[in-house]
């Protein structure tokens, strides 16, 4: 499970383990976006689209984007996923809508870096704003992909790939899927 489990004491008869409490992650803003996802549905006049898939948990989202003059005029998302993925997708649409494509791409990179622990959002400069509510996923290795999937999918859509998966070889978060 990686570094999310931090061993505090180790004694032959007693082992104590501490871990980041995921309740920090399930904040009201995330729960709200999960209940009422914004920009939900499919854009009929989309210029770019992609589907994202996370085989580990079955998360599956469809992203449709309308670009004009390299500006994200409209962006919709639809699919079936866990709360972390759905809220991440919903908040992503609200943040990138109306922004230049280059800003969206920069956010993709910054979000990935924050979720994987490469970007310390409290010390380093970034443009993530309230998206930092997802910073807690970096302590939950199995959930990082859930948060990143919409951003992967946005990157794929903007770069004319029809589909993406969290298991893609190029995926910096690539990790083997647990078997049975």
């Amino acid at each position: 499970m990686g570094n999310a489990f931090r061993l505090i004491t180790h004694h032959p008869s007693r082992v104590l383990i501490a871990m980041a409490d995921s309740k920090q992650l399930y904040q009201e803003v995330i729960l709200d976006h999960n209940r009422k996802p914004r920009n939900w549905g499919v854009l009929e006049d989309a210029t770019h689209k992609a589907e994202g898939h996370n085989p580990l948990c079955g998360d599956h989202i469809k992203l449709t984007v309308k670009l004009s003059d390299d500006n994200v005029d409209a962006i919709n998302v639809e699919g079936q996923s866990c709360a972390i993925c759905k809220a991440s997708a919903s908040m992503m649409t609200t943040v990138v809508k109306g922004k230049p494509r280059s800003d969206a791409e920069r956010l993709v990179q910054e979000f990935r870096d924050m979720a994987t622990g490469k970007l310390d959002h409290e010390r380093q400069a970034h443009h993530l704003g309230r998206l930092t509510v997802f910073a807690g996923v970096r302590d939950l290795p199995t959930r990082v992909k859930c948060a990143i999937l919409p951003w992967h999918t946005l990157h794929a859509a903007l770069n004319a790939q029809e589909s993406t998966t969290t298991e893609a070889d190029a995926d910096p978060m690539h990790a083997p899927i647990g078997g049975e």
Partner: protein, 421 residues
């Protein structure tokens, strides 16, 4: 080991047959605390835990008995060989195989099925032939056959299940035809817990001369398996789901089939003689055990068999029934919770969904309470598709689980529902 809730505090009756608290003392890992809470380990269907005597066996083998087997004449090599072959005989007795040569050590169930797919499938299955599976299969009992089917131009036929997750016998019988070359079926569904009516299924296949492979990975921790009484042609299982280590498993095969099958892997130990012109394969089981096997794991699996022999299987089964009945009753009282898989005969597993909450979120929030469940498609996507869900949460039980742990699960689920409002 002190549980979260003592037995006296639960609504459930006490157990009489199995002294669970005493048995729990054998499992050091069950003393862990996770997130400040006692670990409630409800994921034994994915991998079970190992008791101290079994752990000790690994250390004893490695510290006093280890060398490579079937090779040198020195003391350690002879000792290691004797212990390895002794473990084979323990596994033979465990499943009541007719002969020790019918017990092949593999790396696990997946490896065992792949061995048969290669050794039997690629030799005896041809274009237009059919392989019969069921909706309940784990990916490990689907993908190897798809690979054979693709290579040979054969066809996969799938026997469906009803809404409770029980095999539709009449549909299964219809699939057995003149082109059927193999039935490959799970004993117990890993995703739903359904116990398949194997004897009836095997007898029907044999009437038409069709051999049957059984994926027994989920069965061996819960019930007495007798391969001769079942009359199956192949039976496969994994060590780590029966309180042994990972990296070791067993393929049982009837000698008549094993003799006819081609080897899966080539290498040392699986040969009688090698020249560059011709190689003569070793006899069974060695023909299928190329290279140095996981000796310590095999010996340790033998110790797991010994450990299980010290517990009355009838007690394990009645404990299993008590836990499943209690958990089913308690969970059915939670609004918005749906149990997927309600077969009359089940073992060890409760799969469920909660309205408005994705299983992955359920798993993460239960982990905060120290409760370990599996979430996802359980490597059984056709089962998920059959029941129209992308994934489920799954609580799975072993004899070391208590009714108090079921209570902890139920409390945890109610907390999850509270978070999601």
């Amino acid at each position: 080991m002190k549980m979260t809730v003592p037995h006296s505090a639960t609504k459930a009756p006490r157990h009489v047959g199995l002294d669970v608290e005493r048995l729990r003392d054998d499992f050091p890992i069950l003393r862990l605390r996770v997130n400040g809470k006692p670990l409630v380990f409800l994921d034994s269907a994915a991998s079970s835990q190992m008791p101290q005597p079994v752990l000790d066996r690994w250390i004893r083998y490695q510290t006093t008995q280890h060398a490579n087997i079937h090779r040198a004449v020195h003391y350690l090599s002879e000792t290691a060989t004797a212990e390895y072959e002794g473990a084979r005989r323990k596994l033979q007795a465990f499943i009541n195989a007719g002969d020790e040569s019918e017990v092949i050590f593999t790396s696990g169930t997946t490896d065992a099925i792949n061995l048969v797919a290669h050794g039997y499938g690629r030799k005896f299955i041809g274009a237009g032939d059919e392989i019969v599976l069921t909706t309940l299969e784990h990916h490990a009992n689907i993908v190897p056959w798809q690979m054979v089917a693709e290579e040979k131009g054969a066809r996969i036929r799938v026997a469906p299940v009803n809404d409770r997750g029980e095999l539709l016998m009449e549909e299964y019988l219809k699939l057995l035809g003149p082109r059927t070359r193999l039935v490959s079926v799970t004993h117990v569904s890993n995703a739903l817990g359904t116990v398949n009516p194997l004897r009836e299924m095997i007898a029907a296949a044999h009437e038409k001369g069709i051999p049957v492979l059984v994926d027994g990975a989920q069965a061996v921790p819960h019930m007495k398996v007798d391969v001769q009484a079942l009359d199956c042609d192949f039976y496969t299982f994994s060590g780590h789901k029966m309180f042994g280590p990972t990296g070791i498993g067993v393929l049982y095969g009837k000698a008549a089939w094993l003799e006819k099958m081609q080897p899966f892997k080539g290498g040392g130990d699986m040969i009688l003689s090698v020249t560059f012109e011709k190689t003569v394969y070793n006899t069974i089981p060695f023909k299928f055990e190329a290279g140095t096997p996981p000796i310590a794991a095999a010996v340790t699996l033998g110790a797991a068999v010994d450990y299980l022999a010290g517990i009355d299987i009838a007690d394990i089964q009645s404990h299993d029934t008590d836990i499943l009945d209690y958990a089913t009753r308690e969970m059915n009282q939670i609004p918005g919770l749906r149990i997927i898989g309600t077969a009359e005969k089940k073992a060890g597993v409760i799969s469920f969904t909660i309205d408005g909450v994705h299983p992955h979120d359920v798993g993460t929030l239960l982990n905060d309470e120290g409760v370990a469940v599996r979430t996802g498609h359980h490597c059984a996507q056709p089962v998920m598709q059959r029941f129209g869900v992308p994934a489920t949460s799954r609580a799975s039980f072993a004899f070391y689980n208590t009714l108090a742990e079921v209570d902890a699960l139920v409390v945890g689920i109610r907390k999850v529902q509270k978070v999601f409002g």
